[in-house]
Amino acid sequence: MHFSGRALYTVGLLLIACGIVRADDTAVPETNPYSGDPKAIKEGKDWYNNACHLCHGSRANGETARGGRAADLRVFNRGFRAYVETVKKGRNTTGLAYAMPAWGGVLDDQTIYQIGAYLETLAIDGANWKEGKAPETQ
């Protein structure tokens, strides 16, 4: 029997909704269950342009009026799980006040996944959204 990543994710959400497991206990899938889903990508784009683009730029290349040193997300290469962890926990820039805020508890998992699905559509050479094994370069 084959379960798609999307189906497993849906089951996970149902378990959370039923109170059987807490969100913290839900494993982040290795790949994004919304990859390639046009509706999720559109929703992710809208969220990205509200929550993320101020720092990462509307092309996700880090070029922005406000962020200064935000990462170029087109070449994000640490895999989907690392993406989710970074979004939820935030990220510091050594010594400076510019830090990525922690979005865990602010954006829900589905929204974070939808944003990831949108970012995958912007990926260029060197990006990796599949596995979290690449060296940290962001």
Partner: protein, 532 residues
């Protein structure tokens, strides 16, 4: 001390009441500027942009950074005391880190220096001891980190600075880009810290322009005064520019069809009563982030006291200071396509269509970074010229659906910059023509302008090049690579008989992209120049 203008002392962030950043000092002049040298360097240890112009009185420099105030012996560059305010743990909202630590200046009044900390508190600090006499918060100007408490806003995150007039500290309340809380200017008793009055930038019921907003939209309408303004002691008026209306997507505030007066406007506040004397809407119903917060500079033009305000839009607006009546507008940007021009009433004509929500971006000139932005401009009464920290930016601009994150409505817009070169520009308001320009080969803005009766204009480029130029011709007289970008204008004053020029540096090189300036690093310093 307050009405003396900039000479031996530099009391006001903008140099004088008029906001001109003009000093009457002449010891350093076009004949000897080439001999300038560094007198000392003082490290601020800042974690973010140094946006303040150093204040100076009676031998001591006062400088805010990261919710601290540094007092520095101007003769030696030695630190005298440091006042530090810790932001509350529950302060700030999701974007607080972007704002925290930035201040555009201090106010000096009597024996005290006044700091407006990022959490909207005013601190009266003894100039001699560095101890606070009082710290005041003001009802309604909170900025909780917990979105649930923030209701529909991240609250007030103040990056501007106060200004002193006799007996009163004028306190701009800004930070309105993250949730749209409406902008105010407070009048605070300099001695007691008690609130005297609260001037609303957005018209209230019964005021002219109240009906230019859909009912209820004013409460989160933006219009923050995020630059220190100017003051006319005869008219008893304080002048400020204001931010654009919130959200940037205008569908909740009239769809671009209603003027939203008070936002993207120039506002005059009567400092005796706290009543708004007049509001002039520079960009009615703005949906392009064309706020006009730049300091309205008071000048004499054809014998009248006139406000000249260079702003993001690519125009300098001229208004009668007493009445707010529009006089004219000069286009100083090389390329403008958001409007075909400004009509005789001051309204932009044929404004570019509102982009479709969620649709393709449209090309707009100037971009929302503006032809000038937060970096202060100057005016020299002797040359009759404005000196502009200008840039030739455009943008691709789109309107987005407004998402609500926790309780906070987001901007509802996105954009890409179209980078253009930094242009250090002199403009003649009498002729309406450019006097000179220095065009750089990289994008960005000079940190801010200073001009003097020694016929000098002084600034540091985005690329970290300290420049002293002939104010009449723009000829470079002295330059020094500082190795880091400036985000503020320099000040000048007399120290034991010698004129000193002090430039604060510190900030991210470039405007968004480090790779434009690979040779620069983050710095956080005051650098003092003097003649041998």
């Amino acid at each position: 001390m307050l009405d003396a203008g900039a000479a031996d002392n530099w009391v006001h962030t903008n140099g004088n009441y008029a906001g001109q950043r003009y000093s009457t000092l002449t010891q350093v002049n076009t004949g000897n500027a080439k001999n300038l040298r560094v007198a000392w360097i003082y490290a601020l240890g800042g974690r973010t942009d140094a946006m303040a112009t150093p204040s100076y009185f009676d031998g001591v420099i006062y400088m805010p950074q990261d919710n601290k105030v540094f007092a520095i012996d101007a003769q030696t560059g030695k630190g005298l005391w440091k006042y530090e305010h810790k932001l509350p743990d529950d302060w700030g909202g999701q974007f607080a880190d972007f704002m925290a630590g930035k201040h555009r200046g201090l106010a000096l009044h009597g024996d005290y220096v006044y700091l407006l900390s990022n959490d909207a508190k005013l601190h009266a600090i003894d100039m001699k001891t560095g101890k606070a006499k009082w710290v005041k918060g003001f009802e309604g100007f909170h900025a909780p980190r917990d979105y649930a408490k923030a209701k529909d806003s991240t609250g007030y995150l103040c990056t501007v600075g106060p200004m002193a007039i006799p007996g009163t500290i004028l306190v701009p309340m800004n930070g309105t880009d993250f949730g749209g809380r409406p902008g105010y200017v407070l009048g605070v008793d300099a001695e007691s810290g008690d609130l005297k009055w609260k001037a609303n930038m957005i018209p209230g019921p019964g005021e002219v322009g109240y009906d230019t907003w859909p009912e209820g939209s004013q409460e989160y309408g933006g219009a923050g005064p995020w630059i220190i303004g100017s003051y006319d002691p005869d008219l008893k008026l304080y002048f400020t520019g204001t931010a654009n209306a919130y959200e940037w997507n205008p569908k909740n505030r009239g769809g671009g069809k209603m003027d939203n007066l008070g936002a993207a406007s120039i506002v005059a506040v009567n400092t005796e009563t706290g009543k708004v004397a007049w509001r002039f809407g520079a960009v009615p119903g703005d949906y392009l982030d064309f706020d006009v917060p730049q300091t309205p500079i008071l000048i004499k033009l054809n014998g009248k006291t006139v406000i000249g305000q260079p702003n993001k839009t690519g125009f300098i607006h001229y208004l009668d200071a007493k009445t707010g009546k529009f006089l004219k507008a000069d286009k100083f940007a090389d390329k403008v396509n958001w409007t075909s021009g400004i009509d005789s009433n001051g309204r932009p004509m044929n404004v570019i269509d509102l982009p479709e929500e969620g649709g393709a971006k449209v090309e707009v000139w100037p971009g929302l970074l503006g032809t000038v932005n937060m970096y202060p401009n100057a005016y020299n009464p002797k040359t009759g010229l404005f000196y502009l920290s200008a840039s030739h930016y455009g943008m691709m601009y789109g309107i987005e659906p407004v998402k609500v994150i926790s309780n906070v409505r987001q901007l509802g817009a996105s954009w890409d910059n179209i980078n253009g070169p930094e242009i250090d520009q002199a403009w003649n308001p009498a002729s309406g023509k450019e006097a000179w320009r220095i065009k750089r080969d990289k994008p960005g803005y000079a940190g801010g302008m200073l001009t003097t009766a020694g016929n000098l204009t002084v600034f540091t480029t985005q690329g970290g090049l300290f420049q002293v130029v002939d104010a009449t011709t723009g000829k470079v007289l002295y330059g020094m690579e500082l190795g880091t970008a400036a985000k503020s204008g320099p000040s000048t004053f007399m120290v034991n008989g010698k004129q000193m020029i002090v430039q604060a540096v510190g900030g991210l090189p470039g405007f968004g992209r480090d790779d434009q300036y690979p040779g620069l690093n983050f710095g956080s310093m005051l650098i003092a120049f003097e003649l041998p």
